[in-house]
Amino acid sequence: MFSKILIANRGEIAIRVMRACKELGVKTVAVYSEADSHALHVQFADEAILLGASAPRESYLNIEKIISAAKQTGAEAIHPGYGFLSENAAFADAVTAAGLTFIGPSASAIRLMGDKAGAKAMMKQAGVPTVPGREALGSDKDFKKAAKEIGYPLLVKAAAGGGGKGMRVVERESELGEAVEGARREALNAFGDERLIVEKYVPDAHHIEFQVFGDGHRNLVHLFERECSVQRRYQKIVEETPSPLLTDELRARMGAAAVSVANAVGYTNAGTVEFIVDRATLDYYFLEMNTRLQVEHPVTEAAVGLDLVQWQIRVAAGEVFPYAQADLSQRGHAIECRVYAEDPASGFLPSTGKLLQYVEPRGPGIRVDSGFAIGDELTHFYDPLLAKVIVHAEDREAAIQRMQAALGGYVVHGVVTNVDFLQDLLAHNDFKNGAVATRWVETKFSWAPAGHAFEMLVAAALAEVSVSSVKNVSSVKYQVSGSDERDPYSPWKASSGFRN
């Protein structure tokens, strides 16, 4: 086992990894940017190294500085968390070249899966279903032929594309000509490239992914699925396992497909194979593979009963993963809600500010992974993920009730969050029925904040007569002005409550 690990990340995931290290008896090194001088992940570590300015490329994306921090502190391995450099093959190479261990898959696996088109082609080759499609189409006849082979409805989209630009859903052949023309025009405008591709359109698509896990001794298993169809702006906000959509038979087939995908690139450590599942037909299609720990890994931990992060570290240190596929099973039902500093009433725009009040829920079966505390500033530099609430209960209904109770106990003042939005989402019949597809939030869930309750006005009024009893920002004790922002270790930065 390693004696010291550097965690090249911030926020909740950095603390999550450090907790695993602490239980394994491994010392931890935090890295941080200037904005994060007083962040919890810095306080939580045994040592902390300042990387540089707040912009990620000066700090959390700076490969050279991170490796130098590891060398300086004598760390033997680096855990990249998710985001930042976690799927950067050059980083994995650089870590290895520096004589350190990268806690994750090989650089080559990252590279192969990072080329999304190449990965899709490779998986098709390996016999894994991919979304049927045709490229390099020229004439109208080409399009018609391809469309007939794929079947309607289908999607015409820019080959160079992304973000919905130059994208058309075509329901029947009579609409095809006009759609191709329109898409071509839009593609040319948006990307300067009029090439199009045609793909099968899955109208009621579920996003279902399989956790896979491999060691360096040719053991490779899947740890079942995560249903991640509740998305906004193509980002997951609620994840759960088991998926309410899958049958045992389909679960087994998709799990085997996920293992094939991982095997095709000789995968080791934790990874996730993402599929699209057509709700109507239950056909599934390989989407991509994420070669890292996933934000939503805790629901798998709860249902399968394994500590994924500890196992990441253990197999990176050469240990054997001791469970065969038949040893593994799901128990109960787990749900994760991502608490974002964002305003669901304004297009989910990130909300920045200082955490003026912050209370996390507690209770049996409730886990909160978070990286912030009262007084912390949420800036525009980083992802607006504030915390993850994970519940585990006997069945889906009990898990939803537990999550409702947990969200109802979450208090965040100072930044707007999606907590109220999540409560209403979980109470929706479509969610209760497991009938949420990936476009559901945008197309079917029209949400507006509830008007304030009578008691809210009462409470606000009472606060006027008990000012000193309520949180009053102007008297927050740890606000220090005039401190030297550049040197977090300066004693001048230390708290001075007496300024109050």
């Binding site: 009040q357 304030h452 009462v458 000012v467 009893s469």
Partner: protein, 167 residues
């Protein structure tokens, strides 16, 4: 004590006063009048009895904003700035009055002092609560009608602030 809070759509008037018994508050919002007790208040959390029901609320004062969480729901209200504790009965817009019966706990200014909008001028204690009487605008203290320790009646004039030019 009359307060106005704005949410995204409209303004809400809240009238808060001590009840006759002196042991609780009476609050009127639109047509609804309610008796309530404040059981406890610490660290931004208020425990109240509203019509006999137990209500927990978190309130954070953030400038004019009020972050309020009740029953797991959070709203951001804005306290309307016009409503300092001036009495409707007073013809002098600069005369500030006691919002409820109590005792003057602190007088932070003297006649002739320049004050800035929002500055706490006096503190009145009522029902073991502290009410900070704040300057409604920049100005000068023209007259002080009370001194520390003095009991005051509801709407009793406490202090008069005038614009600098009026001095």
């Amino acid at each position: 004590m009359k307060l106005v809070f704005n949410d995204n759509t409209s303004a809400h008037s809240v009238d808060l006063s001590a009840s006759a018994s002196g042991k609780s508050y009476r609050v009127r919002i639109a047509d609804r009048t309610t008796e309530l007790s404040l059981l406890n208040a610490e660290n931004g959390r208020l425990e109240m009895l509203v019509d006999g029901r137990h209500v927990s609320a978190y309130v954070t004062v953030d400038g004019e904003k009020r972050w309020v969480t009740v029953n797991g729901r959070t709203a951001v209200l804005t306290k309307a700035s016009g409503v300092t504790h001036k009495t409707a009965a007073s013809d002098h817009p600069g005369q500030l009055t006691a919002p409820m019966p109590g005792q003057v706990r602190a007088v932070n200014v003297s006649v002739g002092d320049m004050v800035t909008k929002g500055q706490t001028l006096l503190v009145v204690e009522a029902m073991k609560m502290e009410i900070r009487v704040q300057a409604p605008r920049d100005g000068v203290v023209k007259r002080l009608f009370v001194k520390e320790g003095q009991p005051v009646e509801r709407e009793q004039v406490l202090i008069e602030i005038v614009e600098t030019s009026e001095r």
